[in-house]
C-alpha cells in the first residue's frame, strides 16, 4: 500500500511540468494553431527561471521571469503564424530550435551553480516524504478545471473554439480570430515556460542543457491523446508521470523493467488513441487546425 501511495505521489509530481504546456497547447490547438515549439519554450522557461532565481535569490521571481519570457517568445510565433501567414509546423520547429539554442546560452554561466528552489508543502504532515509538493504542482492541477470551464462553459470559450473550427465564420459573427490567437498564444507561452521553470526550480534545483528531455513533444502528443480536452489531458500527464516513477520504483524493488520501453509509453498511448479512435479524432479535432487563415475581406 505504501508502495502504491509513493507511486501516485511521484506520478502527480512528474505530471505537473508536463501538464502546464499541455493545457496551453490544448487552448492553442482549439484556436487552430499547432505549436511544435513547446520544447523550446520549456527550455527557455527552465534556463530563465534558474538564472533569475540564482541572481535574485528568489525562486518565485524566477518563475515570474520565465512566464514573461515565455509570453514574449510565443508572441513571436503567433505574429509569424497570424500576421505573416507562416506555416505553423515550420514556425513551431524554428521556435523549438531557437529555444534550445538560446536557453543553452542563457544557462551557460549557471551550470553547476546552486539557486533557491520553491518551498515544498506536504499534504500528509511536515515529515512525510510523499505528497510533498511546491505550489506549482497544486497550481497545475487547479488549472485543469479552470481551462476546461473557460473552454466549454463560457462565451469566451465558445468564441475561442469557433475560431478553431472556422475563422471566417467566427469573424462574420463578430469575433476577431487574430485577437483570439494572439491572446491564447500568450497564455500558452506562459504555461509552457512555467512548466520548464517547474523542472528547474521546482523539481531538480539545477539547470542542465536540454533538461526537458523531450517533454515538450510529449505535451503535443498528450493533446491528441486527450482529444483536445483538458480533463482527459490530466489522465495522460498522470500516465506519463506514473511511467517515469514506476520504472524507477520497480527497479528499487528489484523488478527489472527496461527504462527505454517505459519511456515510450506516452507515444504508444497516443498511437493507440489515433488507431482506435481514428475517425473520432478527426471528428473532434478543430477543423481549421494547422491551416493558414488569410483573413476575411472587411467590408
Amino acid at each position: 500500500m505504501s508502495w502504491f501511495l509513493s507511486w501516485i505521489s511521484g506520478a502527480i509530481l512528474y505530471a505537473a511540468p508536463i501538464l502546464f504546456p499541455t493545457l496551453g497547447e490544448v487552448m492553442e490547438q482549439r484556436t487552430g494553431m499547432v505549436n511544435l515549439g513547446l520544447e523550446g519554450l520549456m527550455l527557455l522557461g527552465a534556463s530563465v527561471s534558474f538564472a533569475v532565481s540564482y541572481l535574485t535569490n528568489n525562486a518565485w521571481l524566477g518563475v515570474l521571469a520565465a512566464a514573461g519570457v515565455g509570453l514574449l517568445a510565443n508572441m513571436v510565433y503567433a505574429w509569424l503564424v497570424v500576421k505573416r501567414n507562416a506555416h505553423q509546423l515550420a514556425t513551431g520547429l524554428a521556435l523549438m530550435f531557437f529555444g534550445i539554442g538560446i536557453s543553452a546560452l542563457i544557462g551557460k554561466p549557471y551550470v553547476g551553480q546552486m539557486a533557491p528552489t520553491l518551498p515544498k508543502y506536504a499534504v500528509l504532515g511536515p515529515t512525510s516524504l510523499i505528497f510533498r509538493y511546491d505550489l506549482l504542482v497544486y497550481l497545475a492541477f487547479f488549472l485543469v478545471p479552470v481551462v476546461w470551464f473557460l473552454l466549454f462553459r463560457t462565451r469566451f470559450g465558445l468564441r475561442l473554439r469557433a475560431v478553431g473550427e472556422s475563422p471566417a465564420i467566427a469573424y462574420a459573427a463578430g469575433v476577431s480570430p487574430e485577437f483570439m490567437r494572439f491572446f491564447v498564444a500568450a497564455l500558452a507561452g506562459v504555461l509552457a515556460a512555467v512548466g520548464g521553470a517547474h523542472l528547474a526550480v521546482g523539481i531538480t534545483g539545477t539547470w542542465s542543457e536540454g533538461m526537458t528531455a523531450g517533454r515538450g513533444f510529449i505535451a503535443v502528443a498528450l493533446v491528441i491523446f486527450s482529444r483536445w480536452n483538458p480533463l482527459r489531458a490530466v489522465l495522460g500527464a498522470l500516465v506519463f508521470g506514473g511511467a517515469v516513477v514506476l520504472q524507477l520504483q520497480l527497479q528499487a524493488r528489484g523488478i527489472g523493467v527496461s527504462a527505454f520501453i517505459l519511456d515510450m509509453i506516452p507515444y504508444v498511448l497516443t498511437l493507440l488513441v489515433l488507431l482506435i479512435w481514428g475517425r473520432g479524432v478527426r471528428y473532434v479535432a478543430p477543423a481549421s487546425l494547422g491551416r493558414v487563415y488569410f483573413g476575411t475581406e472587411r467590408g
Partner: protein, 353 residues
C-alpha cells in the same frame, strides 16, 4: 583601408612573437559543460593543473562537443598546432583513432578506452577499487541497513562501482542491502531526482551514484536529511553540506603534466595506464560534519590497506545475485578486468541489464 589591415596584421604578428612560442600545444574536448561538478569538470580541472604546472604550454579547449563533431573539432585543434590531444569522453574513442591514423605525429590520450595505436594511449583511474572506500563509509553510516546506488547506464564500469560500494559496505556491516537503480541517461536531472526519491522511500539512508554530475541527487538527499557519497568530482560537496559523508574526485592534473613532459622529451609510449588512490589518480575527499571520528578512522585504515595492496576488493570467492560463483577462490580481479562486469554481487537488489 589596406594600410589599416597591414598595421593590424603587423600588430597581430607582433603580439604572437612577444608572447613567445608555446613549448607545446595541448587540446582537449569534453562532452558536457566544464563546470558540471562532475566528470567534465574533473577533466577540465586536470587540464588547468597541467597549464599551471607548465606555463609554457598553450591550451586549446572545447566543451559540449557532440560525438559526431568530435573529429572536426579535434582536427581544427591539430591545424592550430596541437601535438597532444585529450579527447576526454568515452564516445570520442573511434573519432580520435581515425585522426590518429591520419596524423601520426600527434599524440592522443583517451580516458577509459580499450584501443591502442602507435600514437594513441589511454588513461583512467581505478575507480571501482576506490569506490570500495565509499562503501565502507556507507556501511558504517547507515542506520536502516539499506544503501542506494544510482547509475546512468547499466554498463560494466557502473556495475563495478555498485559492486565495490556493496562489498565495502558488507565488509564493515554484514547486514547491508544495496538497492541499484538505472536512469537510462548520463544526464537527466528530473529522472535522477525521481530515482533518488524512490530509493529514499525504499528506506535507503546513504546514496551513492555514477552519473555525469550528481548535483540533483545530492540536493534531493540533502533535503531529505539522509547521507550522500560523491563521485566523480569533489565539487559536488557544496550541494549537500550536511548530507556529505565523503567522496571521490578524479584527479589527473599531475599525470597530465607528466604526459605533456614525456611528449616534449620524446619519451612517450602508448599504453593503457590505470592507477588508483596510491598514484593520486583518484582522491578521497574530506569528511562531512556528521561523520563520527571513529568512522573516519576506519575508512582511512581501509584506504591505507588499499594503497599498500593488502586490500583487494575483488578477491574471490564472490557470488552474483543468483548465487553463482563469479570470482573463484584465490582469483583476484585487477584494473583491466573492470570491463567484464555484467552481473551484480549477491545482496544487491536491482537488475544488471
Amino acid at each position: 583601408m589596406k594600410r589599416v589591415v597591414t598595421v593590424l596584421a603587423a600588430l597581430l604578428v607582433g603580439g604572437i612573437v612577444l608572447a613567445g612560442e608555446p613549448c607545446l600545444t595541448v587540446g582537449m574536448i569534453i562532452g558536457g559543460p566544464k563546470d558540471d561538478a562532475g566528470y567534465n569538470q574533473a577533466q577540465y580541472e586536470a587540464l588547468m593543473t597541467l597549464k599551471e604546472k607548465m606555463p609554457c604550454v598553450e591550451i586549446l579547449f572545447a566543451e559540449n562537443v557532440p560525438e559526431g563533431e568530435a573529429e572536426a573539432v579535434l582536427e581544427s585543434m591539430i591545424q592550430q598546432g596541437a601535438k597532444l590531444l585529450f579527447p576526454a569522453g568515452f564516445g570520442y574513442m573511434f573519432p580520435a583513432l581515425n585522426l590518429a591514423k591520419r596524423y601520426p605525429d600527434v599524440i592522443f590520450m583517451h580516458p577509459g578506452g580499450y584501443m591502442l595505436a602507435d600514437n594513441f594511449g589511454t588513461y583512467f583511474s581505478n575507480v571501482q577499487f576506490a569506490y570500495y572506500l565509499l562503501g565502507v563509509a556507507a556501511g558504517l553510516m547507515t542506520k536502516t541497513g539499506k544503501i542506494g546506488f544510482i547509475g546512468g547506464m547499466p554498463i560494466a564500469f557502473v556495475l563495478g562501482n555498485c559492486n565495490a560500494f556493496h562489498l565495502g559496505a558488507r565488509a564493515v556491516n554484514p547486514n547491508v542491502t544495496t538497492y541499484f537503480v538505472v536512469t537510462g541517461a548520463w544526464v537527466d536531472r528530473a529522472k535522477e531526482v525521481a530515482a533518488t526519491q524512490a530509493l529514499l522511500q525504499q528506506g535507503c539512508d546513504v546514496i551513492g551514484s555514477h552519473l555525469d554530475s550528481p548535483i540533483a541527487v545530492a540536493q534531493t538527499v540533502e533535503a531529505a536529511g539522509a547521507f550522500f557519497v560523491g563521485y566523480p568530482s569533489l565539487a559536488v560537496q557544496k550541494f549537500c553540506p550536511n548530507a556529505w559523508v565523503t567522496g571521490l574526485g578524479l584527479t589527473w592534473g599531475d599525470f597530465f603534466a607528466d604526459i605533456a613532459q614525456q611528449v616534449l622529451d620524446g619519451t612517450w609510449k602508448p599504453a593503457h595506464i590505470r592507477k588508483g588512490v596510491e598514484a593520486g589518480f583518484i582522491t578521497l575527499g574530506e569528511f562531512g560534519p556528521r561523520v563520527p571520528e571513529e568512522v573516519k578512522k576506519i575508512v582511512l585504515e581501509y584506504k591505507e590497506k588499499l594503497i599498500s595492496g593488502e586490500l583487494q576488493p575483488f578477491a574471490g570467492p564472490i557470488r552474483d545475485q543468483e548465487g553463482n560463483i563469479r570470482i573463484k577462490e584465490g582469483e583476484v580481479w585487477g584494473p583491466m578486468d573492470m570491463g567484464k562486469f555484467d552481473w551484480l554481487v549477491e545482496g544487491i537488489v536491482g537488475s544488471p541489464k
